[in-house]
């Protein structure tokens, strides 16, 4: 009884502090790895999602003035059990109407299949890129504003072919991300007429990679594709290859792109190239102006904003906050036809939808959903020149 009184009092005080809005209040889960290997990226992703939520809430145009509150939960990035428990809490205790997340492919799959699908909850992930998520049994509840690595494999293959390399060695970090990307790339590269001399894994967190490099060198290849992590085995593989003179040019996918790599390796890395998600669309610049207190150019920050915006716009289009109803309108608001909506224009988008019009949400990351509801993918081609990461084009 006491608890009931206290919770009633707390609820009342929350309601009064939220203002005099009489309409409903809904919650959106921000389900990202606040701790764990991705925490440095999540520091910019979570505020990105919350910026979109605050923008919609402040506009007062969502479903006759419904306000929206963000609730954070931790995926840990690596612990599937902890992530599923956190998702359970979001749905049963916080009673969220939609979830932005998760971040890493493994925990996202676990939370989706164990908790979100049985409970009929919509998840929009900004950063899970495993190709396996394209075909997962999701009852139409899962979307992502990040592209599948199957797409990255094709882009990477194109970049390598355009530079005239036909024979590559390939090593990947031994997890869902590395394996998925490596297999996607090998399929695309061989279809385009190239040869992958060896496709082998490396473990993260080892002190010495000379044995792994020895095997790669024995197989041969003009260049080495390193589908690993920048501060883990990926760096070790590159360093060891340079030390033994096994390879001198490297292809760097998204997990390896960062300023920390040229800083750590030095001038030997010059001439290596790769790609990371990125776009030169107008939306990125507009998102930059919106960003307060976080770095909007950090990887997946723009995708996080777009993930939250998509959920809320889809609710407006469906006229309901029920996931079972608005899951069908997500693709409609994301794609043409309709008026193009950029970051900072969510209020305008809500208004058009309320009037029965159509929108094509472009957002900060040039959103275009294809297939089972995943971003078509825009990539920034990079090259290391004079120990600096330089952008040479967009694909």
């Amino acid at each position: 009884m006491n608890k009931l009184i206290i919770s009633a009092a707390v609820a009342a005080s929350l309601a009064s502090s939220a203002g005099a809005v009489s309409a409903d209040e809904i919650k959106i889960g921000v389900f990202l790895g606040l701790t764990g290997p991705l925490e440095s990226l999540v520091a910019n992703m979570a505020p990105g999602a919350e910026t979109a939520i605050a923008e919609v809430s402040a506009s007062g145009k969502l479903l006759d003035g419904t306000t929206v509150q963000a609730v954070r939960a931790d995926t840990t990035c690596i612990d599937a059990a902890a992530a599923s428990a956190a998702m359970e809490r979001l749905i049963t205790v916080e009673k969220v109407a939609g979830v932005v997340g998760g971040d890493c492919s493994g925990v996202t799959t676990a939370a989706l299949t164990n908790v979100a699908v049985p409970n009929g909850m919509v998840m929009v992930s900004p950063s899970a890129t495993s190709p396996a998520l394209s075909t997962v049994e999701d009852n139409g509840l899962f979307f992502r504003t990040a592209p599948s690595d199957a797409r990255q494999g094709v882009v990477m293959s194109d970049i390598i072919m355009d530079r005239g390399f036909k024979e590559v060695a390939l090593t990947y970090t031994n997890n869902d991300y590395g394996k998925g990307l490596a297999d996607a790339f090998q399929a695309a590269f061989e279809e385009a007429g190239g040869t992958v001399t060896i496709n082998t894994s490396h473990e993260d967190g080892k002190a010495d990679y000379s044995a792994e490099v020895g095997a790669l060198a024995a197989a041969g290849g003009e260049i080495l594709v390193v589908a690993g992590y920048i501060d883990q085995g990926g760096k070790g593989m590159i360093q060891s290859s340079l030390d033994t003179g096994a390879f001198d040019t490297f292809v760097l996918p998204d997990g390896m792109v960062g300023t920390a790599l040229p800083e750590a390796i030095g001038p030997d890395l010059n001439g290596s190239f790769g790609q990371a998600p990125g776009t030169d669309s107008a939306g990125a610049g507009m998102f930059n102006e919106l960003a307060e207190g976080f770095d909007s150019t950090s990887p997946f920050a723009a995708e996080s904003y777009d993930a939250a915006a998509l959920i809320l716009l889809a609710m407006q289009a469906a006229g309901s906050t029920d996931p079972q109803k608005y899951k069908d309108t997500v693709m409609d608001v994301a794609n043409a036809p309709g008026e193009k909506i950029f970051p900072g224009e969510l209020g305008k988008g809500l208004e058009i939808l309320a009037g029965g019009g159509e929108i094509d949400y472009v957002g900060a990351s040039n959103v275009e959903l294809i297939g089972a509801g995943e971003s078509a993918g825009n990539y920034r081609e990079i090259e290391i020149k004079d120990e600096q990461l330089t952008t040479v084009g967009y694909r």
């Binding site: 894994s201 010495d208 044995a211 020895g214 095997a215 060198a217 024995a218 197989a219 070790g236 003179g245």
Partner: protein
């Protein structure tokens, strides 16, 4: 020419790395074998003692670097190593005072020591992570290579290069110096002789007036010095991360047991046996063979006996084989 190319290739990927790795294992195994021979227990905390000594060395290295003290082409860590040894010795003496002395006074079974050392291992591991963090630490400076693969190719006109890192050279040279000093100490000095006497027969040594506390203290100091040197060399050559030092425990113990626990000569031999087996069994010989046989005999496969993922398994298998066939090790040790 083809033969020389094959040899260069083999040196670059097998001989040079295995020599350096073998030296590091040998130094580590010497520490384990010394503690086993004199204190009569398997010290599972040795890997983390290495991490502790290396950590102190790294902290001093950073301090020296910030003050602008350098050794020219040599890594500053060599200058910091004596301080690492000092702190590490103080640390192991403290653990002896707090943990092992209690069991020694009760004349406990070796297995009780062993379990106590597992406890010390976890505590040391925690202390190291707490002070320096669980991540990779970079402390190497000075020149990186004695000879680069590209330079070697130009110099010799071969199509295969051999690169020798400065850290690999330093490792092998330091190993020889340390081993020579250790054997001189054990065989020629009074303290060394009293240690060997204590190891051979504790009661007889006590009767002839050898001070057991002194022998134990010297053993710990030597073990700490060996651990710090091995750890620092490993960190310079590869990288420092507390967890990898914990993982080193297996190959180090394998080396000590293969050589014969309690036998210093065996520890050195064991270190090289383990290092060469680990690297030779997981190396892919395709290109070496390509140099040695006529063109159309070249195999399609990699000619790799075991994937590199199974590197640690090699230590296990050798360990099992030795325990089955020669339980006392290649050189006669005390036995397990």
């Amino acid at each position: 020419m083809e033969l020389l190319n094959a040899l260069a290739l083999l040196s670059n990927y097998v001989l040079v790395p295995a020599l350096a790795y073998g030296s590091q294992l040998a130094l580590g195994a010497l520490g384990v074998t010394l503690v086993f021979g004199i204190l009569r227990f398997s010290n599972f905390a040795h890997g983390d003692t290495m991490a502790f000594g290396t950590m102190v060395t790294i902290l001093f290295t950073w301090w020296f670097q910030s003050m602008g003290i350098h050794l020219g082409p040599l890594p500053t860590a060599l200058l910091a190593m004596p301080f690492g040894i000092l702190f590490c010795a103080a640390y192991v003496l403290a653990t002896d005072r707090l943990v092992y002395r209690f069991y020694r006074s009760k004349r406990s079974d070796p297995v009780i020591y062993l379990i106590a050392s597992v406890g010390v291992m976890f505590v040391t591991n925690g202390i190291v992570r707490f002070i320096i963090g669980p991540d990779d630490q970079n402390f190497a400076d000075g020149e990186r290579f004695i000879i680069k693969a590209g330079e070697f190719k130009k110099l010799t006109g071969l199509s295969e290069g051999v690169s020798i890192k400065l850290s690999q050279g330093i490792t092998v040279i330091t190993m020889f110096i340390v081993v020579a000093l250790l054997f001189w100490f054990l065989n020629k000095t009074r303290s060394g002789k009293s240690m060997r006497a204590y190891s051979d027969n504790e009661d007889l040594a006590l009767l002839s007036g050898i001070n057991p506390d002194r022998v134990v203290a010297i053993t710990w100091i030597l073990a700490a010095a060996l651990a710090t040197i091995a750890g620092t060399l490993y960190g310079l050559d590869k990288s420092f991360k507390p967890f990898t030092y914990f993982q080193l425990l297996l190959p180090i113990f394998a080396a000590a047991i293969v050589g014969g626990l309690g036998n210093p000569l065996g520890a050195i031999a064991g270190g090289f046996v383990i290092a060469f087996s680990e690297i030779m069994i997981t190396y892919a010989y395709k290109r070496v063979i390509a140099y040695l046989v006529p063109g159309d005999w070249v195999p399609d496969g990699l000619i790799q006996l075991l994937s590199t993922d199974y590197k640690f398994a090699v230590s296990f298998v050798i360990l099992l084989l030795v325990l089955l066939v020669r339980p006392n090790g290649i050189f006669k040790g005390t036995g397990v």
